[in-house]
């Protein structure tokens, strides 16, 4: 019985490994809040959504498959949640029969397996009800084949037949077996028989008259005899015990499987409900195959930021089609880091088949995502800060491939601007050569102007928008690198003096008296 919700042709591996830079990505892109909202407190959901989001898919077909399933979930949110709840509940109830798998006495195992199967049969009945009434509302391949499976494999006739069989397996009238004679006339080939269900009075009398039947009765205190009878019963039921046990284990496996396939979408629903409830835009992105640089969007925002505040956040638009390098300059705290994060988040979300936090989003597919964000001074470190940055860069290089996406945030600025620019340019040139797409937030003027002068055609220049009065709009707009990075604004705010006044004249003495 196969269910394919996560892939068109196979199941999700619940033991997916995280990428090597798992922690870096989670920190830099502030993904924790996203995972938490999706999980809604459920540890299992948390693990699944994290694994799925961080293991980007590179097949357009898979992404479209998942988007279709997700769209169905969004449209039929209540029903999907109900299905999930049935699965979780069945699994929990099975766990309550908690010793059924570890018994060694066949009759006990049979008895417990029957109970567990009964639980599952009931759950199948409930799934059938949903499927019967609502399957027409679902359009995705994934759900269509799931409902078709439920409808065909678990129809009423079948469920009731199973139910009947389970009833007979308590053997209310004794275990019927046929036996033959082996070596030493010992009983062999114990074959469990199907007894006639109903015997009419007449058939009973007539057949009893003709057939020979004899009864052996156990003596009152014959304990070894009682044990012998138990062993004979076990010989009769051992085959079906194994069938039932295996079936129960497999059905349980099927429930786990379905739960694993559905869990991710439940997480998506949790996020979707919240974010649309808040009024933020959400759309299904258009993944583009091939090796051209395609990336354009409207209204893209940092969803993690939005999850953390009650107001809505600023969205951005951009068209970077044909561009392999995007350089973002501008004032501090102008929204550049946020912008960078929103790119990373959106790419991860697109490449696991989710919606993205934007009004529209088109992109080609990345093969691996890497972030290099400026770190706080680590006081415990033995390396110098630039050392640490370069070391971090180096470890990333091992894992990069053509088609990877690299996000730099104020990298290599832990030195003077000339040296920093030099280092950055060398790295960027090499990465471009290798076909890696780069976003670089930098206030190293030498670096940005270098690319403005030498590679204007392949590079998109963006800037944090700043109004004439110096305030930020937190929008990132197109614009070439400017001479100053408006540190003036900050200085003014903190020191309360215009920077020119502070510089003219003596120096620190003057500042003190101001």
């Amino acid at each position: 019985m196969k269910v394919f919700l996560m892939y068109p042709d196979r199941n999700l591996n619940p033991d997916l490994k995280m990428p090597w830079n798992e922690n870096i990505l989670v920190d830099d892109l502030e993904l924790s809040r996203i995972f938490e909202k999706m999980a809604g407190g459920d540890k299992f959901l948390h693990e699944i959504v994290k694994k799925v989001i961080l293991n980007s898919e590179t097949d357009v077909g898979t992404l479209l498959h998942r988007q279709a399933v997700l769209k169905d979930c969004v449209r039929n949110s209540a029903d999907v949640r109900r299905i999930y709840e049935i699965l979780v509940r069945s699994i929990t109830e099975e766990k309550k029969q908690y010793f059924w798998f570890s018994q060694t006495n066949p009759e006990l195992i049979l008895h417990e397996s029957i109970k567990v199967m009964q639980i599952f049969i009931n759950s199948f009945g409930e799934l059938r009800k949903i499927s019967d009434s609502k399957s027409t509302e679902f359009e995705s391949e994934g759900f269509k084949s799931l409902f078709s499976l439920i409808k065909n494999e678990l129809d009423d006739a079948y469920l009731s037949r199973i139910g009947d069989i389970l009833k007979t397996l308590s053997f209310p009238r004794g275990v019927p077996v046929s036996v033959q004679l082996g070596r030493g006339n010992e009983g062999v080939n114990y074959t469990l028989l199907k007894l006639m269900e109903k015997r009419t009075i007449f058939s009973g009398i007539i057949s009893q008259g003709r057939e020979k039947r004899y009864t052996f009765t156990l003596g009152d205190r014959d304990e070894s005899g009682a044990q012998a009878i138990v062993e004979m019963r076990n010989r009769g039921i051992i085959n079906i015990t194994n069938v039932l046990k295996e079936s129960a284990e497999n059905v349980l496996g099927f429930f786990y499987l379905l739960r694993n396939e559905l869990a991710f979408y439940i997480g998506c629903l949790n996020l979707y409900d919240y974010i649309t409830g808040k009024g933020e835009p959400v759309c299904f992105p258009v993944p583009v195959g091939g090796r051209e640089n395609i990336l354009s969007f409207n209204g893209l925002y940092d969803i993690s930021l939005s999850l953390g505040i009650s107001e809505r956040v600023v969205g951005n638009g951009m068209n970077a089609d044909g561009k392999g390098l995007v350089i973002i300059t501008g004032t501090n705290r102008g929204g550049k880091s946020t912008f960078l994060r929103s790119i990373g988040q959106a790419m991860l979300m697109m490449q696991c088949g989710m919606f993205v936090p934007a009004a529209s989003f088109n992109s080609d597919l990345m093969r691996g995502l890497f972030t290099h964000f400026k770190k706080e001074e680590d006081r415990g470190m033995t390396m110098g800060k630039l050392d640490e940055e370069l070391d971090r860069m180096s470890s990333m290089v091992d894992h990069m491939r053509t088609g990877s996406l690299m996000l730099f945030n104020e990298s290599f600025s832990a030195t003077n601007t000339r040296e920093g620019s030099q280092i950055s340019s060398n790295i960027v040139d090499a990465l471009i050569e290798k076909g890696i797409k780069i976003f670089f937030v930098s206030h190293l003027y030498e670096f940005s102007i270098n690319y403005y002068e030498k590679r204007r055609e392949e590079t998109l220049f963006l800037r944090a928008e700043r109004k004439s009065d110096g305030t930020h709009t937190y929008r990132i707009i197109e614009g070439n690198p400017l001479d100053t990075s408006h540190s003036e604004d900050l200085f003014n705010k903190i020191f309360g003096d215009a920077i020119e006044d502070a510089v003219v004249g003596g120096g620190s003495e003057k500042l003190k008296t101001a």
Binding site: P106, P176, G184, L193, I238, F254
Partner: protein, 538 residues
């Protein structure tokens, strides 16, 4: 003897079992074949049940025990205690060994004996069984027996044995298989088996009752259940299956059920009882005897195998009643070889050759050089050869002796009040008195408790007495003088010249040179005369 009247206590051996289920009138008198061990009579009045006196000295007690232990139940020891006097019996056995060197013949024979052993296992304790159970075990045993006999005949016919023994057996079986008694047994057994196989009954097992009735063709429910749950099965599932322990043997509940089944199939079960009455002594006595006697060969073959594994060889010796120019190439002490083979080591081999009129081998040389082992080897090889067995070595010519006498060192026997010298002399005199020219005497160190001069005098006298008797003798001694007497051949245990301490265990024909050895040893430790003069500073 019938099955019914039997008491079969636990200590019953398989050999004894063979006697019980055999009836004398099953023998086919026409054929000459009776025994795989003897083709003509030996002098039966001399049949020993106790080991000969020289066994302990030659370590043959340990050797025989090692050979017969794995087949304890067959009590083969006494066969090994009786060397053959009739050369035709020796040849008879040797030829059987030759046939058994053919792996297919050996395999067929082994298979046959294993089946017969299984049959005896079925039959042991049969009387303690329930009604209808014991009769069925009897039938099952007869089934194995019939199949085993027929298969042995078929296999041996294909394998074309050449020895009189196995050929005789094959002829015997051929006639036996076609006899009325065997064909009747086989056909009755087969017919009864068919009837019993057709029995199929139904039990409805409740917790305190079992209803037993005819099987009415009801369907196999587990097949239906399996089909219904099929969609929940996974191909290639490696899930652990529930298992129930397999018991053999019937409990009283099953026995009671069986009696009820007998009521449902009265004709079949009465046939079973009748069969058992008619056939409780179905084993042919000659074949039963063969089963026991062939173990003599099988036990020895198994024993040789371990020693052959480390590269040593056995050969079938030529045995003469007349010619005493014995030789043996590549021989070894079989007891020592067996012990060493368990450590994956091969014992050192030695050659021994007597030419012209040489009768007495005098063995001298350093202590622990392998002289005693060599003496044992000489005795063992002759003894084993006289049993018709393959002997250690690559080629061998032996003498069919009438007795072996050994005179090995004994610690002072305080009981008989004699001193050691007196004891030695009394014993050797007894040996000399009893020996004939057809005997073999093996002396391992004597006269060590007297002066050298006297020892040489006595030793020479003993050697000359033995020469007068004219029998074969091997004499291990420290008296080099004896090695140069007329009529003796000298062999010496050798050392590595550069390292006098190192033993080679090789005994070679050369004059005694004990002094040369002593000198080398003294030089190594710096205690020659010159060394001592030099080293002691006055």
């Amino acid at each position: 003897m019938s099955v019914k009247g039997l008491i079969t206590p636990a200590y019953m051996t398989l050999a004894m079992m063979a006697e019980m289920f055999i009836t004398e009138n099953n023998r086919s008198d026409k054929l000459a074949f009776e025994s795989i061990l003897y083709v003509e009579t030996e002098n039966k009045s001399d049949f020993r049940e106790e080991p000969p006196d020289f066994f302990v000295d030659l370590n043959l007690d340990q050797v025989i025990k090692a050979i017969t232990d794995p087949k304890k139940d067959y009590k083969l020891d006494s066969i090994f205690y009786n060397s053959l006097k009739n050369i035709n019996n020796v040849t008879y056995r040797q030829n059987v060994f030759r046939d058994l060197q053919n792996d297919s013949i050996l395999h067929s024979v082994k298979i046959f004996t294993e089946k017969v052993e299984k049959m005896y296992r079925y039959l042991s304790g049969i009387d303690r069984l329930y009604k209808y159970q014991k009769e069925r075990w009897l039938m099952d045993s007869a089934e194995i027996y019939c199949e085993a006999v027929q298969t042995l005949f078929k296999d041996l016919t294909v394998e074309s044995p050449e020895s009189a023994g196995i050929k005789g057996l094959l002829e015997y079986i051929g006639t036996y298989i076609n006899s009325e008694s065997f064909t009747k047994l086989r056909d009755e057994t087969s017919a009864l088996r068919t009837k019993l196989d057709a029995v199929r009954f139904t039990m409805i097992i409740k917790t305190g009752k079992i209803v037993v009735k005819e099987y009415n063709g009801e369907e196999d429910y587990s097949a239906e259940i399996k089909g219904a749950f099929h969609k929940f099965s996974e191909s290639g599932s490696v899930m652990k299956k529930v298992r129930i322990p397999q018991f053999s043997g019937m409990n009283h509940v099953e026995a009671a059920v069986l009696e009820l089944v007998a009521k449902i199939y009265p004709e079949t079960f009465q046939s079973l009882l009748d069969y058992s009455q008619r056939n409780n002594d179905f084993i042919d006595s000659t074949l039963g005897k063969f089963q026991k006697e062939i173990q003599f060969y099988l036990a020895y073959i198994d024993h040789m195998a371990g020693i052959k594994d480390v590269g040593l060889q056995f050969c079938i010796p030529e045995i003469s009643e007349v010619n005493r120019n014995v030789f043996c190439y590549g021989g070894f002490d079989i007891g020592l070889a067996d012990k060493l083979s368990k450590e994956k080591k091969a014992a050192v081999t030695n050659d021994l050759v007597l030419e012209d009129d040489q009768r007495i081998i005098v063995v001298t040389g350093p202590n622990h050089g392998g002289k005693t082992t060599f003496a044992r080897m000489f005795g063992q090889i002759h003894y084993l050869g006289s049993l018709g067995l393959p002997v250690p070595g690559t080629g061998s010519y032996l003498y069919l002796f009438d007795s072996i006498f050994t005179h090995f060192e004994r610690s002072e026997n305080l009981d008989n009040g004699r001193g050691k010298l007196e004891d030695d002399l009394v014993r050797i005199k007894a040996i000399i008195d009893r020996s004939t020219s057809n005997s073999i005497i093996i002396i391992n160190e004597m006269l060590s408790s007297t002066t050298l001069k006297d020892a040489v005098k006595i030793g020479k006298k003993i050697v000359s007495d033995i020469l007068k008797i004219g029998c074969l003798c091997l004499y291990v001694t420290f008296l080099d003088e004896l090695a140069s007497l007329d009529g003796t051949v000298s062999m010496v245990s050798t050392i590595v010249p550069q390292n006098p301490e190192e033993r080679t265990y090789k005994i070679i024909k050369q004059p005694a040179d004990g002094l040369a050895y002593a000198m080398a040893l003294a030089r190594k430790y710096g205690v020659t005369y010159d060394d001592i003069i030099r080293r002691i500073t006055s």
